[in-house]
């Protein structure tokens, strides 16, 4: 059945008239995703790829049946767009935008969570349940439907891993990028909890990187036996120097915590094999699923 997005997913695109929003709306429609409307303040009444464009999310929601939103608006307006989606009652919001101010991100995401809204991202490629729905910017061709979920903090690395799982392995149930920012809506652990209940998913590829402690928390969760499907992990950034942001705002070893070594140890301690290279993930999973 996959998680979070499927054939019932009906998508609003916030920032639909922008370059990225426009481009990926087309790509999502081509994939078969039910994108039903868009929002851009001041562009209400126009159309993009045959979809109605509204000034306000509340207008789009009252005219259309919508349960999911994807946000492409520039960083300085992205937190506002998240508030707008939450207040309009949308329960799943994918935030693609990179570069949202940290304090705004912190407040807006905590607000969304307090209203029981699931936020994927920010600074993420989105989510795809192959053959069912794609709410994101990933190249669809590397994701073939199957039985392994891919959770990742990185975009292209997800594609690298997914490509191998799709071509040489058991294929993909749902792949989602949780985002490369320090503050994100869904953690690895949150997603594992959802995957535990998903019949389609028989195994998980967990693609972490340096910074924060989400990988350690996921490892502890698995170690306590709360997740009991096979997991293979990969951690990027073993050669990264401390106190430097490695591309992602969240990828930094700081104040002595967040190193790849700590994360790898945590997974091994929880009985989770850690792949040496992204290419090895599919092979290790194939043994287990």
């Amino acid at each position: 059945m996959a998680i979070l997005v499927n054939r019932d997913t009906r998508v609003l695109v916030q920032g639909i008239t922008g370059r990225e929003g426009n481009f990926h709306t087309k790509a999502m429609l081509d994939y078969g995703t039910k994108v039903v409307a868009g929002v851009t303040p001041g562009k209400g009444g126009s159309e993009v790829h045959g979809l109605p464009v509204y000034d306000l999310v509340s207008e789009a929601v009252s005219d259309n049946s919508i349960n999911t939103s994807i946000i492409f608006v520039p960083p300085r307006n992205a937190a506002d767009s998240l508030y707008e989606a939450v207040d309009a009652g949308i329960k799943l919001v994918v935030v693609i935008t990179e570069g949202i101010p940290l304090h705004e991100e912190l407040k807006a995401i905590e607000y969304a969570r307090s209203k029981e809204v699931i936020v994927i991202g920010p600074n993420c490629p989105g989510i795809i349940s192959p053959s069912l729905s794609k709410v994101g910017i990933m190249p669809a061709m590397v994701f073939k439907q199957g039985s392994v979920a891919v959770i990742s903090r990185s975009g292209t690395l997800t594609y690298e891993v997914a490509y191998h799982i799709s071509t040489k392995g058991p294929g993909i149930s749902t792949a989602l990028g949780i985002g490369g920012d320090p503050i994100i809506g869904l953690t690895f652990k949150d997603v594992l909890q959802m995957l535990q209940k998903d019949d389609q998913t028989k195994g998980v590829a967990l693609i972490g990187e340096i910074g924060g402690s989400m990988e350690e928390e996921a490892a502890a969760f698995i170690g306590r036996g709360e997740f009991n499907k096979p997991v293979v992990a990969y951690i990027a950034g073993r050669t990264a120097p401390p106190e430097k942001k490695m591309g992602h705002a969240g990828a930094i070893v700081s104040m002595g915590s967040g190193s790849a070594q700590d994360k790898i140890l945590a997974f091994k301690g929880a009985g989770v094999p850690v792949a040496e290279t992204p290419m090895d993930v599919a092979a290790l999973l194939k043994e287990k699923v």
């Binding site: 690298e160 990187e209 104040m255």
Partner: protein, 374 residues
């Protein structure tokens, strides 16, 4: 954006936080300025952005003018962890009863503001947490909440302050949180040491302030007005670059893939020279600029380009590579191209005489062995 100690103190002063009085000496030619108006003993502090300055000899107490001038000449131009000292702070000497540690930051997994407080300070927080974890208290401030009074009382207890000293602390916390952290959207405001003096003052003897790289432009404007410089000046490159020690230049698209590329080179016995992420949807020009940036260094033997095209189009990247080729002389080039418009891109490069790979591992192996040969 990391700020210099004196810049953090300018912020503190503007926020009404008690700091030692100080003057700044910028460059050799200003050393003579130390004489007038300075009372001794005083402290000379090299202004650098890297930590561990004290251990590197960057902080000196001087007892009189002669010693001050001699020490200043000695400090100016000093190299501290690769950074050259070109400005000094001449700071009031504070008679300290007790040194404490106090900082506010953002806790990622709790999605919360976090106050770290320890009754002993003056040493770096990493050592503090490692050696005396029980001495470091963590007080969380939920972003949907004000900084509640009870949280301030917790901090006072952690720092072992009471009575009037606790009142001073409450005021300090308000100023740190509202008038520094929130006002300038810092991701770290650290006072280490926070000094308790004999006359019952709480003084921020050092400052470490880091501003979120993604702040809105009006915050940058405020910073520029306050500090006289734009701390984000070098932050608007179109790619993300971190320098490393090796000799294989790395260009990738996407932070995770680029890190994975570094790691892979290392595990194959190679040595990455940098992290350079051209991001999603890069065009020719960005690729060209990325090459230029890497070739600024003369210790690069090979450049390894690893592109998995999603939004990024392989033919666009190939175009950028070809345009940059003229600048590449004694450096070898290994290119992995896969994904959107892969075939067009690989053909373009083949025509230009550049070998390409579709598989990351094969390509990395080639890069490492080519580098060894040279």
């Amino acid at each position: 954006m990391r700020l210099y100690e004196y810049e953090g103190k300018i912020m503190f002063r503007a926020a009404g936080i008690d700091i030692p009085s100080f003057m700044m000496i910028k460059g050799e030619e200003e050393i003579g300025k130390i004489i007038p108006g300075v009372s001794f003993p005083a402290v000379l502090k090299a202004q650098v952005l890297t930590g561990g300055r004290g251990k590197s000899g960057g902080v000196k107490v001087v007892k009189d003018q002669a010693e001050a001038l001699a020490t200043a000449r000695q400090l100016m131009g000093l190299r501290i962890k690769g950074e050259t000292v070109d400005s000094l702070m001449v700071s009031e000497y504070i008679d300290i009863t007790r040194e404490m540690y106090l900082s506010i930051t953002v806790d990622r997994s709790k999605r919360s503001y976090l106050i770290l407080a320890s009754p002993t300070g003056g040493i770096d927080i990493e050592s503090l947490v490692k050696d005396n974890p029980e001495k470091v208290s963590r007080i969380y401030i939920n972003p949907g909440e004000i900084m509640a009074d009870y949280a301030k009382r917790k901090v006072a207890k952690a720092l072992m302050l009471s009575g009037n000293e606790a009142s001073l602390l409450f005021d300090l916390l308000n100023r740190m949180f509202n008038d520094v952290m929130q006002k300038y959207q810092a991701d770290l405001v650290e006072i280490n040491p926070l000094a308790l003096t004999k006359d019952g003052r709480l003084i921020a003897v050092d400052s470490k302030v880091t501003i979120d790289d993604n702040v809105q432009p009006f915050i940058i404007g405020q910073l520029e007005r306050l500090l006289g410089r734009n701390p984000s000046e070098n932050a608007d490159e179109r790619f993300k670059y971190v320098q490393l020690d090796g000799n294989i230049g790395v260009i990738g698209n996407g932070a995770g893939l680029t890190m994975a590329t570094m790691d892979l080179l290392k595990s194959l016995g190679g040595s990455p020279a940098d992290f350079l992420d051209i991001g999603g949807g890069a065009d020719k020009e960005v690729v060209n600029e990325a090459f230029k940036r890497i070739l600024e260094r003369d210790d690069i033997k090979t450049i390894f380009v690893n592109i998995l095209g999603g939004i990024t189009r392989c033919d666009e990247v190939a175009g950028g590579l070809i345009a940059a080729l003229s600048a590449v002389k004694d450096v070898k080039l290994v290119v992995r191209l896969s994904g959107t418009n892969e075939e067009e891109g690989r053909k373009m490069l083949k025509d230009a005489g550049i070998a390409t790979y579709g598989d990351m591992l094969e390509a990395a192996r080639a890069a490492v062995s080519l580098t060894r040969e040279s």
